[in-house]
Symmetry: C2
Subunit: 596 residues, 2 copies
């Protein structure tokens, strides 16, 4: 596959590179005396130099003769030199940061490239949203490669999104130079059942010679997994057990082992490497979803490599899993993923290999970050008005939250969340009817939920009840509400629910906590209702404040806004609420709130 | 990269494959109870089934439910099941067989795919010759992928060929669906010196997103090798020492370890794997040049895998080196190189792993060979008249071999061949002048040589003398004369030299030995003067007869016609003869026969 993520295509600079390697021309940059982490042969090679010209590596070995008077010479002083890291599967939107701010956060961690699946913004703004993020990325040094969102909407027929993606849209994006493949194909039932539309989405990617990334979260690794892989899906990041990852690797699928902010898979899945003596070329390390505080306090792939080493994976193997293996997965190893001649000079220096402590980061031969700080500045990208005006809803009143009912009491379905898990249980509660309507019951921890379609102002709204958050007062609202990202409101009373909603409608989306008619905490996410237009530190602080507000209101869950955001995700069991109503996710059928 | 070498593109059959994997549709073929050689994880997995539909693998594991009433069921009975073998670098012309006959020879050995560089025929017939071979290949099950000849002529300015290949021709072939890359870039001086034309040939390949294969035969593995790889060359089969192969792998170059008929590199280069504890993903096993008797008596990649195992390489590693590693080198691993769902069902059954004894061969899911015999028959391809009429020379007379000289004696330059080596030495001899001309001297083993341009009947001819063959009578002629393949004649007297020449002119080329006015042995190679139109057995027998004739005439070298064929190859040291005259290959200048 061609790769446009380089300073110059190789054919435009190969003559220069050959001349620099042989010493006839001088390099732009020479790094002297490093311990090379050779990801091709799985070795550490002492005292190795690297010469760079035109953003690419010209020579690896002894590069004294490549040094001229205009050559920048950096003495590695025995630090480890490795290829810069690549994240094979990431949703930037999870960081709540623009791509520009995200790049500033991850580049100093050693990340030069991400394979991003912007399916959150795509649900809101369609391919326009994807284009905005690509444009944002172009203002940075980060190589943000697109995998086109494959499942927009995530659960067709059960929710309303701002856009849909079908084979036609996928085919269009495959002509984009930033596009290297298809984003995670979450619709594995569609694949397994040979659904025409789903296979066509995969097919348009294959026709373009690009890579299909996957999402197979079932514990079944026999015929179902075979049926899924047989369609052409090449990788999957959804293994939570070592045996799942092993089954995938044996079937020629790249197992992308995840250590995200919320999904700590590595402790278990690292065993696929540490407890087997297998070839590890089909294993990668990825982050999937990373929150701002994780980026700020732990890092990105540097942290995940460190975690892999803690779990017993050999350091060179761990680095292979974020470099050459990722490049081979995406068939971009001719340009990326190793410190070898002709490749893009994307490299890191590391002073402590066990802790993967990255001290210098080079992208296209340029020293862009040092000691955890960006050296290079990026011109900010201003998202267009369409992106910042994505909450299409009239202001709400408490009346909009009224759930009418008759009789003295009714039995209703309630979604019960499970702490630190993505699933919910379907429960039943008998609720009193007051003033001809149903109300939250703080004593029994039964809160009211509403989901308002917010993309086209269609007026559709779903109502339900949820257990498990432990909130004693007030309400929360957020436009981060997977995957359709409609306006999701949870609360103890209709007045606060209306206030929370209107606060977000006014600011263009985000996350908010209110109580007793007052705003306790607000995270404005004006870009598509998903992304902040502020720096990492500020966004991270606001998110932490929101978490504090939840605590004050009685919730003891970690990152409860994450759990809340999954309430509408109708592909997860058991009971969910979308803007169209309650969905039984075991039978994939709408169901009634009031049972009897 | 897209791959057209499959029964159906994946996107046309992915629905069927998914349904077969899940048991909803039935497979065309199921192999039961094999020991799977898993090249992805480097494991042998007991009791594994494989289900195939539409020529591709649908399921690997337990495939009982994929069996229907029309499913062909084969019981592996505990045999090993591996991906079929792929030869990453091969010149079919060396076998003197048409591609059809070559396919019949190698498929029963377990070969499903070759990456062929038809630079011999291209020197004679240009891209038309390449097209003929591709057309021939299409009549067979063998996946004959083209790497476009990169160096035609091999040594520009020093010889006349039937065609030239430049960047324009390379660009044209990159649009051909059979083309997966560029053939061995032998002109490493052109790369190292940043020659525009040479880099453009590479560049046109890179622009097309295809693979540049290499040829770097220097023992220098520092700046020169870096300069070579920096141009974008991805693999090289010219390592004869383990340290050369290691240097290449460390620089991200695929080291293609060779065991050809004449080049027995493996004993030495296998040590790169056996004497290091490195990741072997950048190593492949290839044949380069295989003669008919090797194919007949030893085999193809099955023999080379066996040899690798004999040298101490782990059997699964050796099989990776002819399957997944080759597929990854050419970025075709999404379609080829592993027994995993979605891939082409190119597979072998092996009953004895150490000896790599292949008993069944499947290509695109079809059982095409069994117990060393082809089961499938191929419609023969008839090469067009242009291919069979490539010796454009008028009949010669003894007078055409006369080398005039004056005086009583002269000192001349003589090429001395080195037994079992490709080089020659420059020697000097003082020769008597008789009848105003120079003659061969059998006593001193100094034979006359002439090279006649035979592509355009330009009348150019080069004369010289050679030492080392030990021939006591008669003459030999051949149109296999690297790389320009002009008419090359060696002999003791002008009459026999004319007879040998005219014999080949009459039959369209080949190899011949004559003595005392009689033809002792003739190998007709009517296709381009390089390739037989007869079956392997017949061709092999004729070549053996020719070797016998050489022996009868006094030559004790093994395969002396091979050594003879290199006399015109002006890129090898020290002294060579082309149709334009004697070339000093140390200075790359023409030189005189008569010194004083």
């Amino acid at each position: 596959m061609l790769n446009k993520f380089c300073k110059k295509p190789l054919w435009e600079c190969s003559q220069t590179l050959s001349l620099v390697a042989s010493g006839a021309k001088k390099a732009d940059l020479v790094i002297l005396g490093a311990k090379l982490v050779n990801v091709c042969t799985h070795e550490i090679l002492e005292n190795t130099d690297v010469a760079v010209a035109q953003g690419r590596i010209a020579c690896v070995g002894n590069c004294q003769s490549c040094i001229g008077e205009n050559t920048l010479v950096i003495h590695a002083n025995g630090k480890y030199l490795a290829p810069a890291f690549m994240d094979g599967h990431i949703h930037v939107e999870s960081s709540m940061l623009s791509v520009g701010e995200y790049a500033k956060a991850v580049i100093p961690c050693g990340t030069s490239a991400i394979f991003m699946d912007p399916h959150e913004i795509c649900n809101v703004l369609g391919l326009d949203g994807v284009k905005y993020m690509l444009e944002d990325a172009k203002h940075t040094s980060l190589k943000a490669m697109l995998t086109t969102p494959s499942c927009v909407p995530a659960v067709p027929g059960f929710e309303d999104t701002g856009a849909t993606v079908g084979p036609k849209e996928v085919a269009e994006t495959m002509t984009w130079e930033e596009c290297v493949g298809l984003g995670e194909m979450m619709n594995f039932p569609g694949i397994l059942n040979a659904d025409e539309h789903t296979h066509a989405i995969v097919g348009e990617t294959l026709k373009a010679g690009k890579i299909v990334t996957g999402h197979y979260s079932l514990p079944e690794t026999a015929q179902g997994l075979n049926a899924y892989i047989a369609s052409g899906v090449r990788c999957c990041h959804e293994s939570t057990r070592a045996e799942d990852a092993l089954a995938k690797m044996r079937l020629g699928m790249y197992a992308m082992l995840r250590e995200g902010s919320a999904w700590h898979d590595l402790k278990e899945v690292a065993k696929v490497i540490t407890q087997n003596t297998i070839d590890s070329r089909f294993a990668c390390l990825i982050s999937d979803d990373t929150h701002p505080d994780t980026l700020q306090n732990k890092g990105h792939l540097n942290y995940i490599v460190k975690r892999a080493i803690e779990e017993g994976i050999d350091p060179v193997t761990a680095i292979q899993m974020v470099t050459i293996n990722v490049a081979q997965c995406f068939q971009l190893d001719h340009d990326l993923g190793s410190v070898t001649p002709s490749k893009c000079a994307d490299m890191v220096l590391i002073d402590d290999l066990e802790n993967c402590n990255v001290t210098e980061v080079f992208i296209d031969g340029e020293l862009v970050a040092q000691n955890g700080k960006m050296l290079k500045t990026f011109a900010p990208y201003d998202y267009p008005a369409k992106a910042k005006n994505s909450v299409h809803l009239d202001l709400l009143t408490p009346e909009n939250f009224r759930i009418p009912a008759t009789g003295a009491s009714v039995k209703i379905r309630v979604m019960e969340i499970i702490p630190a898990r993505v699933g919910t249980f379907e429960r039943f509660e008998t609720m009193p009817v007051k003033d001809g309507a149903l109300h939250a019951d703080v004593e029994r921890d039964v809160l009211k939920v509403a989901v308002f379609e917010r993309h086209r102002n269609t007026g559709t709204v779903g109502y339900g009840f949820v257990k498990g958050f432990g909130i004693k007062k007030g309400a929360m609202a957020q436009t981060v509400a997977h995957d359709a990202h409609n306006l999701l409101v949870v609360g103890t009373n209709d007045e606060d629910m209306a206030l929370a909603s209107n606060t977000l409608i006014a600011c263009g989306g985000g996350m908010v906590a209110v109580a007793d008619g007052k705003i306790l905490s607000l995270v404005p996410l004006p870009i598509a209702g998903l992304i902040s237009d502020r720096p990492l530190e500020e966004t991270s602080e606001k998110v932490q404040n929101l978490e504090k507000a939840w605590k004050e209101m009685g919730c003891t869950l970690p990152s409860p806004f994450m759990t809340m955001a999954l309430i509408p995700l109708a592909c997860l069991p058991e009971l969910r609420l979308t803007n169209r109503g309650l969905v039984d996710c075991r039978t994939f059928q709408f169901t009634n709130l009031i049972v009897e």
